[in-house]
């Protein structure tokens, strides 16, 4: 196994996912096979290959600093699970520790 159950739980926690032990085990197996797949790439010799950060061979795609009208507030708030006239509403965030 390339991944421990604790690592899976840690990743789940970072993503704020509540997972049962059973789900963690299933996820470990799936992630493990993905990692195994990527290991195949390690066998290639890439010493002479320049690292890239993007699949497109492009650079410098910009826009000018010109503001444009924004969206109507009601449309932006339309799909919010909870809202008031002006803002999104979310449960109060408590610092863990």
């Amino acid at each position: 196994m390339r991944l421990s159950l604790d690592e899976v739980r840690h990743v789940a926690r970072l993503g704020r996912l509540a997972m049962t032990d059973q789900q963690c085990e299933a996820m470990r197996d799936q992630l493990d096979s993905i990692l195994a797949h990527f290991e195949a790439l390690q066998e290639l010799d890439t010493d002479d290959v320049e690292p890239t950060s993007h699949s497109l061979d492009m650079a410098n795609v910009y826009r000018d600093d010109e503001p444009a009208p924004s969206f109507d507030r009601d449309r932006i708030l339309a799909n919010a699970p909870k809202r008031d006239d002006e803002c999104f509403r979310v449960p109060l965030i408590m610092e863990e520790d």
Binding site: L14, V61, S70, R89, L92
Partner: protein, 485 residues
């Protein structure tokens, strides 16, 4: 134990662009909640960011001002964390290959020059604002979400709270001079997070770094750094371990002095899983673009200080005060240029004295910026020339200036509206006063013995001798000076 403090500063500065970093929403800070938001800055499904060219230029400009090397090849990265003010669940930031790195800023601390190295300057986006309500909910305003934000990270080169404050003051001055940030700490357009720990230079033992938050003034930065240095020192001397932590500053109130407490332990918080941003292609800063940005660079504070010393023969201290803000320096130069005759150095000295005296006093009293003062530099030059020519005394000039400061009227207009007419020059008036004092020795003796009400008689005599043409206040001043009362 020989202990020394190790302080590095992380600064976040909102860039002065008109539109956001990756969408065209306005950056207007006065807009109502959630009125400058769109699907991109609220992370609706299927949207794509596009880089604001101006924001890149402002960061490069900052890098040049801070003596950094500018990356010819730079990329954005995703910083993953989960918090409601960040709708994508990641912030587009830079990790590897930031736009600028390895620079420095020279500062002056109590007369000593110190060089603070800059580790990196990178570009990212700001988050939304959370407002806590009375109940167990928070409200979110995404107006600020996606506003271009620049992070400037120093090396841990500072050794005291004084140095940390001076670095921050000098850095803000540079950012304002080059027009990249308003530098307003109270409004949060310029934010500072110091990293503080203490080292025993003999044993090499170190405390864990405290990252300080909730600092919205220079004073808070200074006090919190001092507090942390004392806390770390105490614990290290007792042999206790000090863990790495993020701590929140609480300013002093009636019940207790300012202090820090733990927000979170650091190991857990920093797991951001950075990776190159797949939605954005790399940035390449070629020589042409770089020279274009370089050509648009204004004079920096240090250059201006040095020029003021050589061009206007000012002391380094005066040059420092006059160049504190770009607007103040510009005002000074315009006023000197508007002075007609005489040596530049003399005019500069007069203007410098006036701006540091009367102007600064009124600016402090009214809380105004010099750029908004109705009295223009040429008006100040004109006023000072009237004084120089002996047509106004210093006292009257101050009164005239107060009105000028408020209304922007030129000095001659204020003088004629108030009916201030000065007989001859100041020395002529002084001669008349001396004559009156000599003629009324017994009254002079009374005044000197404390009967100050008798002074009115002397003033009256002078007014009579000048047929009412003198300004009573000026006469009064001269008499006071002569009698030493």
């Amino acid at each position: 134990m020989a202990l020394e403090a190790i302080i590095g500063l992380e600064v976040h500065a909102q860039l002065l662009t008109r539109s956001k970093m990756f969408c065209r929403c306005s950056t207007d800070p006065s807009a109502g909640p959630n009125t400058v938001v769109c699907p991109i800055c609220t992370a609706m499904p299927g949207v794509l960011p596009v880089i604001n060219r101006r924001a890149v230029e402002l960061v490069v400009r900052t890098g040049l001002a801070l003596n950094c090397s500018i990356a010819s090849h730079s990329i954005f990265a995703r910083k993953n964390y989960w918090y409601p003010d960040l709708p994508k669940n990641y912030q587009i930031s830079q990790y590897e290959l930031p736009l600028c790195r390895d620079g420095y800023l020279d500062i002056d601390v109590n007369g000593q020059k110190r060089r603070i190295r800059i580790r990196r300057v990178h570009l990212e986006e700001d988050t939304g604002k959370l407002y806590h309500t009375a109940g167990n909910e928070s409200r979110i305003d995404f107006n600020r979400c996606g506003v271009p934000l620049m992070e400037i990270v120093s090396e841990p080169d500072m050794r005291s709270a004084d140095e940390a404050r001076e670095y921050l003051v000098a850095l803000r001055q540079v950012l304002r001079y080059i027009g990249v940030c308003t530098g307003n700490m109270e409004e949060g357009s310029f934010r500072c997070e110091p990293n503080v720990n203490v080292r025993d230079t003999e044993s090499g033992a170190k405390t864990g770094i405290s990252e300080l938050k909730n600092l919205n003034s220079f004073r808070a930065v200074h006090q919190s750094v001092d507090f942390e240095i004392a806390r770390h020192t105490r614990l290290l001397q007792r042999g206790e371990t000090v863990p790495r932590q993020t701590r929140r500053w609480h300013p002093s109130d009636e019940s207790r002095g300012g202090y820090t407490d733990v927000m979170r332990s650091k190991e857990e918080a920093h797991d951001y899983r950075y990776f190159p941003e797949p939605d954005l292609v790399p940035m390449r800063i070629g020589d042409d673009w770089l020279s274009e940005i370089r050509a648009g660079m204004p004079e920096l504070p240090q250059q201006k200080r040095e020029r003021f010393v050589s061009q206007y023969a000012l002391t380094p201290y005066d040059a420092g005060v006059l160049t504190q803000s770009l607007e103040f320096a510009q005002y000074f130069e315009a006023a000197v240029a508007a002075c007609r005759a005489g040596q530049v150095a003399e005019a500069a000295k007069r203007v410098s004295k006036w701006l540091q005296g009367e102007m600064s006093r009124l600016l402090n009293e009214t809380g105004q910026d010099i750029a908004d003062v109705p009295a223009r530099p040429e008006h100040v030059a004109e006023l000072l020339e009237l004084v120089e020519e002996g047509k106004l005394t210093g006292t009257i000039a101050k009164e005239v200036f107060e009105e000028m400061f408020r209304t922007g009227k030129p000095a001659p207009q204020i003088v004629s509206e108030r009916g201030i007419e000065v007989v001859g020059d100041a020395s002529e008036l002084e001669r008349i006063v001396d004559q009156v004092l000599a003629d009324h020795a017994e009254v002079v003796a009374k005044v000197k013995s404390g009967k100050t009400q008798s002074k009115g008689f002397l003033v009256g005599q002078v007014m009579k001798a000048t047929r009412g043409q003198a300004v009573p206040q000026i006469v009064n001043d001269i008499i006071d000076r002569r009698l030493g009362v």
